[in-house]
Symmetry: C2
């Protein structure tokens, strides 16, 4: 109880990029795709500037006692379908491995759903890898339906 | 052969909104969600203005002999993961029912993949409803993998 209630969500800052990349890399699927080096490759900071400057995108972090322990990116995407309703797209949800099982991911995702609704979305969507069975259970518990096949084309 | 080569892809204009909505509504999943009325509900035009004004989004139509026969929306989304590579998100792919089976959808999707790559994406993703088995075969033929579960939360 007290652990959960001490988590603060806030917009990510440039100096969070390192810990965000560390969380993305600390993952069976992510570790082959990231370059957790010191200094970090500049492509990460360029991407952060693009994200931060995009009014449709919010990259948020969960902070506990001054340390970043989770992240989530929410995009609000306009579109013609569903009578012109926007859609929310959730991506890059991560919780630091030593902080899992304490409701931090839930707090992040519930924030994103509430925010998407407040921005007029009728739908929030996400893709989770077929092998992430725990994540699928987690999202189902929060009200998401496994209604779609998520298809990817990787260059 | 000649039929395919006469298809032109171009950016959607405001006066295409009606035919785009008609294609979205002419669909077992879409018809309960759209309001194909004359005049169209203004929410569709508001959404078009948002889409059209967003530098990360391209709503394109396939045109044949001056008639719009297909559409696709491509969003290029910046993000931290995969070393700060952008992702392409394909949505709202439709081909007019009387024009299917002639490669128009393929032309639209191949354009989107090429465009996403040109914009620096390392990944293109999409969600297709579990019941759209033909669509899943279509995307697989174009090189997409059914690697993810697409989860949705509908308000």
């Amino acid at each position: 109880m007290t652990a959960i209630s001490s988590i603060t969500l806030r917009r990510a800052r440039r100096d969070d990029v390192g810990v965000i990349v560390a969380m993305l890399a600390d993952d069976p699927l992510g570790n082959g795709r990231e370059r957790l080096e010191d200094p970090l490759p500049p492509s990460y900071f360029r991407a952060f500037e693009q994200v931060d400057g995009d009014p449709n995108i919010q990259l948020v972090v969960a902070e506990e006692g001054g340390r970043v322990v989770g992240c989530l990116q929410l995009c609000i995407l306009p579109g013609i379908s569903s009578q012109g309703a926007s859609r929310g797209l959730i991506e890059d949800v991560r919780v630091a491995s030593h902080c899992r099982g304490r409701g931090i991911g839930e707090q992040l995702v519930r924030w994103a759903v509430t925010e998407a609704r407040a921005k007029g979305c009728k739908l929030v969507e996400l893709l989770t890898h077929n092998t992430r069975v725990d994540a699928q259970r987690f999202y189902a518990r929060l009200g998401f339906q496994p209604s779609h096949v998520g298809m990817t084309f990787r260059f």
